[in-house]
């Protein structure tokens, strides 16, 4: 999977470099002089601690979506593809190296939790504080706002959220209009793509993704739901040549009351595999099996190294998920 992502990242990099020449001839990147006049743009550059080789014009390009009214400016579509490939690669290798036994659906969900549109929207809007350019041309004129000011804001054509009462829209929805979350995701991905283009360094891009995306807390243990945990656990023990799992009571209270609590453990011989509680023996047994399965799937190696590290050592490769 890793090598696949890597090759796809390289492929799109090549595609990008050829296609960027094409639209550069038609569309322009804002000059440094113009860009310096935009306070939000300079502030965003400083806030993200971007290197000086990252031109303000490139940052302004990263904030221009294809649907932007500023048609003369180069848009961020190509940068976004580049950024997306970097994000997918570094996030997947990080999760795979941290939890080498994750089942595929959980792995996919975990990757999506880091880099889905909604997550990137939260990063762009609330962590990076990117503003969207949603004031009208008239109010800009009345505020005597400089033309360049809006270069530091995210420019896109939002889909109309509400229909006005009594108004029937006859024309079909504008194809170019996008949801704010999608626009913010485009912006965030493009900023990452732009970082690589400005620094030409995979290390810097990786560090940036680690600092801004992978530093967010994600509880993978809450992403599991098993259909037949007891059966799956006994199949797992069979596969690993362990003794048959047996549920044993560890403690209990109030068996004859209306709110009893049982604490049970799942044991294979004398080894405890998992432990949990429940208000009935059946519940405690199922919960303990789920806990044991999570203990298996959420195994973490002591030292996590990813394929893009210089001193990479391959981690655990085992039989994969338990087939019930």
């Amino acid at each position: 999977m890793n090598s696949l992502i890597r090759t796809s990242a390289r492929k799109s990099l090549r595609q990008f470099s050829t296609s960027s020449i094409k639209f550069n001839s038609q569309q322009i990147i804002a000059s440094e002089e113009q860009a310096l006049k935009s306070a939000p743009l300079v502030a965003l550059h400083e806030r993200l601690n971007l290197p000086s080789s990252y031109k303000l014009g490139t940052l302004a390009q990263a904030l221009t979506c294809r649907s932007s009214y500023k048609q003369e400016l180069a848009h961020n579509y190509g940068l976004n593809i580049l950024g997306k490939n970097f994000l997918t690669y570094y996030v997947s290798e990080h999760i795979l190296a941290t939890y080498p036994r994750l089942p595929l659906p959980v792995l996919n969900a975990a990757v999506a939790s880091y880099i889905s549109s909604d997550s990137l929207y939260a990063v762009g809007k609330y962590a990076w504080g990117i503003e969207s350019d949603d004031t009208t041309a008239l109010s800009k004129y009345l505020n005597e706002e400089a033309k360049e000011h809006s270069l530091g804001k995210l420019r896109f054509l939002p889909i109309s959220q509400t229909d006005e009462a009594g108004v029937t829209k006859l024309s079909s929805r504008d194809r170019k209009s996008i949801h704010p979350a999608a626009a913010y995701a485009l912006g965030v991905r493009s900023i990452i793509g732009g970082l690589y283009l400005s620094t030409k360094s995979e290390e810097v891009t990786k560090k940036f993704i680690q600092d801004h995306i992978l530093s967010r807390k994600l509880d993978i243990s809450k992403m599991f739901e098993f259909e037949q945990p007891t059966r799956e656990l006994s199949r797992l023990c069979e596969r690993q040549n362990l003794e048959k799992p047996v549920a044993r009571l560890i403690s209990e209270t109030g068996r004859k009351s209306d709110k009893p609590i049982f604490v049970m453990g799942i044991f294979s011989g004398e080894n405890k595999l998992g432990e949990s509680y429940g208000s009935s023996i059946r519940e405690a047994k199922i919960r303990a099996s789920v806990n044991a399965l999570k203990n298996w799937y959420l195994y973490k190696p002591t030292t996590v190294s990813v394929p893009s590290d210089k001193d990479y050592k391959p981690s655990v490769v085992d039989h994969g998920i338990v087939i019930v």
Binding site: L249, S251, S276, R287, V290, Y299
Partner: protein, 176 residues
């Protein structure tokens, strides 16, 4: 290095008061439905109200791969508590004659030969019985009808309680 850490801690006046446990969790209070209950009136402050879940994720030694540095370092002999059920010898194979007998009994005498009775008779699980034979159609329709009648007699409270029980059971399979 370790000696520098004080072995005893003294509580000062500011932290001397013990934290009171939360005896009853405040819930939504309905003026009509909960009129007979006393509304818990807690003074603002700190209460001890620990989270109910105690399950921790930690990989046991037998689940560690062979090349892990921790393998064999943390082997604990557990005190074994009582089991709640004995693992029984499973009979995995039924002969073709037995299967046809099961099918015949289940179709022809459904009142007498229920799934659990057949399972006990042939020493297999009820699940195996459902794999090898089909239920009597008339009987299953009748049972569905009876269940429907029972469900119709439920009041709103019981209906909600049953629904709630189903929702809670989903969490068992996530252990949350």
């Amino acid at each position: 290095m370790l000696r520098l850490i004080p072995q005893t801690f003294t509580r000062h006046h500011s932290t001397n008061t013990t934290v009171k446990p939360l005896k009853r969790v405040p819930s939504l209070f309905n003026k009509i439905n909960s009129a007979s209950n006393v509304k818990p009136n807690y003074q603002p402050g700190l209460y001890h109200h620990p989270a109910p879940s105690a399950s921790i994720i930690s990989t046991p030694d037998v689940f560690l791969p062979q090349n892990d540095q921790r393998k064999g370092l943390n082997v604990k002999k557990e005190v074994l508590g009582p089991t709640v059920s004995q693992p029984r010898e499973k009979k995995l194979n039924l002969t073709p004659e037995e299967v046809s007998q099961i099918q015949k009994l289940r179709l022809e005498q459904p009142e007498l030969w229920t799934r659990s009775k057949l399972a006990a008779e042939f020493n297999v699980s009820p699940f195996t019985i459902s794999l090898v034979s089909n239920p009597n159609k008339q009987r299953s329709e009748e049972m569905q009808q009876r269940l429907q009648t029972i469900k119709e007699s439920w009041g709103r409270q019981r209906y909600l309680a049953r629904l709630d029980r189903k929702k809670r059971a989903v969490n068992w399979y996530r252990d949350e």
